[in-house]
């Protein structure tokens, strides 16, 4: 479980955190169990700051990669346009995304990095083994652009649902 672990510091002494309620944390993990053995995916809405991405809503999205859903995910841009519009109308921003790794560790893959383009956003990955959610990790996409982007380990801070 991601909660309770310490802040993750990088070489510059900076650390990044994604904060979400226990309800949202369970919701994205449960989504991965429901779609098992396929990858689930969704969008995290909230408020973004330099070090802290705070999640206020979890929006499920369809995985368009029905050709290879056990190891690929893709959210239709049209669905993203709609999600971004709804977020804007509720005063929220897209702060991250989540997907699951069926029978695979909760670590980003080379493809995950190559296909990640939302700098500053959190990419949450849950491993789902034999249909049961295991580890949930988050990685912050950092860098100026495509040439120097990288994933940085991020603390997953789960707060009690009543806090918001």
């Amino acid at each position: 479980m991601g909660d309770g672990q310490g802040a993750i510091w990088d070489a510059d002494g900076a650390f990044v955190v994604i904060e979400l309620s226990s309800v949202h944390h369970s919701a994205l993990r449960q989504h991965g169990e429901e779609t098992y053995p396929h990858e689930c995916c969704g969008v995290l809405l909230g408020h973004a700051a330099e070090a802290l991405n705070r999640v206020e809503a979890v929006v499920r999205a369809g995985n368009t990669r029905t050709d290879s859903a056990h190891n690929r995910y893709n959210i239709a841009p049209q669905e993203l346009v709609r999600i971004q519009r709804e977020a804007r109308e509720s005063g929220l921003d897209i702060v991250g995304f989540y997907h699951s790794h069926p029978d695979h560790p909760a670590q980003w893959s080379v493809t995950d990095l190559a296909e990640a383009h939302w700098m500053g956003c959190s990419y949450v990955i849950t491993s789902v083994e034999r249909g049961v959610a295991q580890q949930t990790n988050s990685f912050r996409l950092t860098g100026e652009g495509e040439d120097d982007k990288k994933f940085k380990d991020e603390e997953v801070r789960v707060v009690s649902a009543a806090a918001s």
């Binding site: 990858e39 995916c41 969008v43 973004a48 999205a61 990669r65 290879s68 190891n71 690929r72 995910y73 893709n74 959210i75 841009p77 049209q78 993203l80 346009v81 709609r82 971004q84 519009r85 804007r88 921003d93 897209i94 702060v95 995304f97 997907h99 790794h101 695979h104 980003w108 893959s109 080379v110 493809t111 995950d112 296909e115 990640a116 383009h117 939302w118 700098m119 500053g120 956003c121 990419y123 996409l141 652009g145």
Partner: protein, 101 residues
């Protein structure tokens, strides 16, 4: 018209979520956006000046790549453009004797 900027590109658009431009076509709107915010250019277009493959731009609910008139499509004041980079990922299928993963 309004152009909605996704979170990762806002640092290159004076931190704005929405930029308003005057334009009568999609192409003019994008031109106006990148001339006001020149740093956006390299994030939206490759060196050859083509829209980057992972950048989607929607005129209201339609991908501009699929508009019949493409960037020459006329726009009204009430239309909006939304810039939306793609969201995807996955892991290579690794066979035990295959390439290292």
């Amino acid at each position: 018209m309004k152009i909605h900027i996704p979170t990762p590109l806002r640092p290159y658009a004076d931190k704005q979520a929405t930029v308003t431009v005057e334009a009568s076509t999609v192409g003019q709107a994008l031109e106006a956006l990148t001339s006001t915010h020149p740093e956006l250019k390299k994030h939206l277009y490759s060196d050859g000046g083509k829209l980057r493959a992972f950048v989607n731009i929607y005129l209201n609910d339609e991908d501009i790549r699929y508009l019949a008139a493409k960037e020459a499509t006329p726009v009204k004041e009430s239309d909006s453009l939304t810039i939306i980079p793609s969201i995807a990922g996955g892991r290579p299928s690794i066979s035990p004797r295959g390439k290292r993963g």
